[in-house]
């Protein structure tokens, strides 16, 4: 391929990424509207049983069907999505602060402090995030599942931010800054401002994707949402006994969860298969 051909292909890929990011943020915006208006959009209140016949398949009356207790699956999916997003937002904040921000700052600490810290977080990153979240919930309470999911997703964000900060420390602008007598604290402050101005939104979307996976999985395992406040993970777990014969009881909550994670991944600009 010629140089101009390579440049054209690169420009095309960048435009596609930009479009996908817009699609991701638009999707997240629509989900935010659905979550904010879930009580109005849903035809039945959360956990209202006996709304229709038991395990009715999707129809004109019940677009997503009903579950084993006669709950309207469309309403339940909306309420479940709302519960998942409401838990995921504080978890995202925890991941951003304890992972991305702390990792960036830790990389600029004196080496005697930064290296052991990086080593310790590396050990936490060697444990599956799901098991880490389960452990934190076990040590605290199910009410803190959001914080636990945020903390469980934080080691990976920490390691990534630590690496970026180290790269920036070796960059030309840092060498010039040090040579002109700018203090390490001032350089860190400036790098932090630029880093977060440039990456806060993709980092937040990435953290949202990561914590949504962890949160829904811990709920699926029975460590997250407490009934009757059901999130999507708990709804899917509840359908495990009969979804082989009533697919809609698991399919729609799973679809809603996948769409949420997909939009977050697109908004973050993640590549295909890239870990959130």
């Amino acid at each position: 391929m010629t140089q101009s051909g390579t440049a054209t292909a690169r420009t095309g890929a960048q435009s596609l990424h930009a479009v996908l990011r817009v699609v991701g943020w638009t999707g997240l915006g629509l989900i935010a509207v659905a979550v904010a208006l879930s009580d109005f959009l849903a035809s039945a209140p959360a956990d209202a049983t006996g709304i229709g016949p038991l395990l009715a398949a999707p129809s004109a009356a019940f677009h997503f069907g009903t579950d084993i207790l006669g709950r309207d699956m469309l309403s339940e999916t909306l309420h479940g999505l709302s519960a998942t997003v409401r838990s995921a937002l504080p978890a995202t904040l925890v991941t951003l602060v304890a992972g991305a921000l702390f990792g960036f700052v830790a990389a600029r600490l004196p080496r005697a402090l930064a290296s052991p810290l990086r080593g310790f977080i590396g050990i936490l990153a060697a444990v599956p995030a799901l098991l880490l979240a389960v452990l934190v919930i076990g040590l605290t309470s199910r009410g803190l599942a959001g914080v636990a999911a945020g903390l469980a997703a934080a080691p990976f964000a920490f390691v990534r931010a630590f690496g970026r900060a180290r790269e920036q420390e070796r960059a030309t602008h840092s060498e010039y800054a040090r040579a002109t007598g700018i203090s390490a604290a001032t350089l860190l402050r400036r790098d932090l401002v630029y880093e977060f101005t440039d990456t806060i939104l993709p980092a937040a979307a990435r953290a949202l994707a990561a914590v949504s996976i962890v949160l829904s999985t811990v709920s699926f395992l029975g460590f997250g949402a407490v009934p009757p406040h059901r999130d999507l993970g708990l709804m899917i777990a509840a359908s495990k006994l009969y979804f082989l014969h009533a697919w809609w009881t698991a399919a729609f909550p799973a679809l809603a969860l996948t769409v949420l994670i997909l939009f977050a991944r697109l908004a973050a600009g993640l590549g295909e298969g890239e870990r959130a």
Partner: protein, 296 residues
């Protein structure tokens, strides 16, 4: 090379030590009076560490069995699942990573891979179970609520069908990690100037890719071995729950739920230790293949 391996071995030793300290801190919670304050906890932690040094990981407060016995009963199942999932990950992940790593094939497959990547593992496991039960009429142990063992070397068609679903669930998660590592290495190499130079020297694309490109791409996969193993363990934790198998991850979840910390700690230590060891092996194996100073 020796210096690199020594440095990595040092990192591994520190990592394992840290993991042991963390596991001992969790296990110390099972000691009487460990929750009576910071000093009491530190004393319990010290005692637990001493026990760990003597390979005594304590007793389950639920079953009364030693932690080693519980681990010996459950860990092989998880390791078997991970090993068989690893084989699937390589069989699926390597061709996908190489075929869809660049060009029109990547653009065509990108939307599908993006959607599949967005599905949590438990959703993927349930979807596999649904397809197997309803289309292939295979036995699917998801809805009986009974924890069972798993024949890792099945002797019948039914045993094979029962085994295939969790192995596929774990393997596909590993395949995603493997293809990502390959694609990452491939895209890093794509802009290397030596490709153009070698072409000018008269080498064909096959020679350039086969002799110079592939070893470096596979070095990328090897150096991400820790990530692949972590993805496999994460998936095994979910697959055991979805398909009702009594493996180590299932044991961990139950132990945490019942606050049986003497059991939860060694399971966590095993997972972290195995991931760190895989990372070490992968880095050491990749080093001679990726080192620009070494002829491929």
């Amino acid at each position: 090379m020796l210096r690199f391996v020594s440095r990595e071995a040092g990192r591994l030793a520190l990592g394992l030590l840290g993991a042991a300290l963390l596991a001992a801190a969790i296990s110390a919670l099972a000691m009487p009076h460990a929750g009576d304050g910071v000093f009491a906890f530190l004393v319990a932690w010290g005692r637990t560490l001493n026990d760990f040094v003597h390979l005594d990981f304590g007793h389950s407060s639920i079953s009364g069995e030693t932690a080693m016995a519980e681990l010996a009963a459950h860990l092989p199942l998880t390791l078997g699942l991970v090993a068989e999932g690893f084989a699937v990950a390589l069989i699926v992940g390597i061709p996908v990573g190489l075929l869809f790593g660049a060009g029109p094939a990547r653009r065509a497959a990108a939307p599908l891979i993006q959607i599949v990547s967005a599905a949590p593992i438990f959703c993927a496991g349930l979807a596999l179970a649904f397809v197997s039960a309803n289309l292939l009429h295979w036995p699917v142990p998801v809805d009986n609520g009974v924890k069972t063992g798993l024949a890792l070397w099945p002797h019948s068609v039914t045993g094979f069908e029962t085994l295939l679903l969790p192995v596929l669930t774990v393997g596909l998660a590993g395949a995603a990690a493997a293809q990502l590592a390959l694609r990452r290495a491939g895209s890093e190499l794509a802009g290397e100037p030596w490709r153009v130079q070698l072409r000018r020297m008269g080498l064909s694309n096959w020679e350039i890719e086969g002799v110079y490109g592939m070893p470096r791409i596979f070095a990328g996969l090897l150096s991400s071995l820790g990530e692949v193993i972590l993805a496999l363990f994460s998936a095994a934790a979910v697959a055991e729950w979805v398909f009702n198998y009594a493996g180590a991850a299932d044991l961990f979840v139950k132990s945490v739920a019942l606050h049986d910390w003497a059991i939860a700690a060694p399971v966590l230590l095993s997972f972290a230790g195995l991931t760190l060891i895989a990372d070490f092996i992968g880095r050491c194996a990749a080093h001679p293949m990726a080192d620009p100073g070494t002829p491929p």
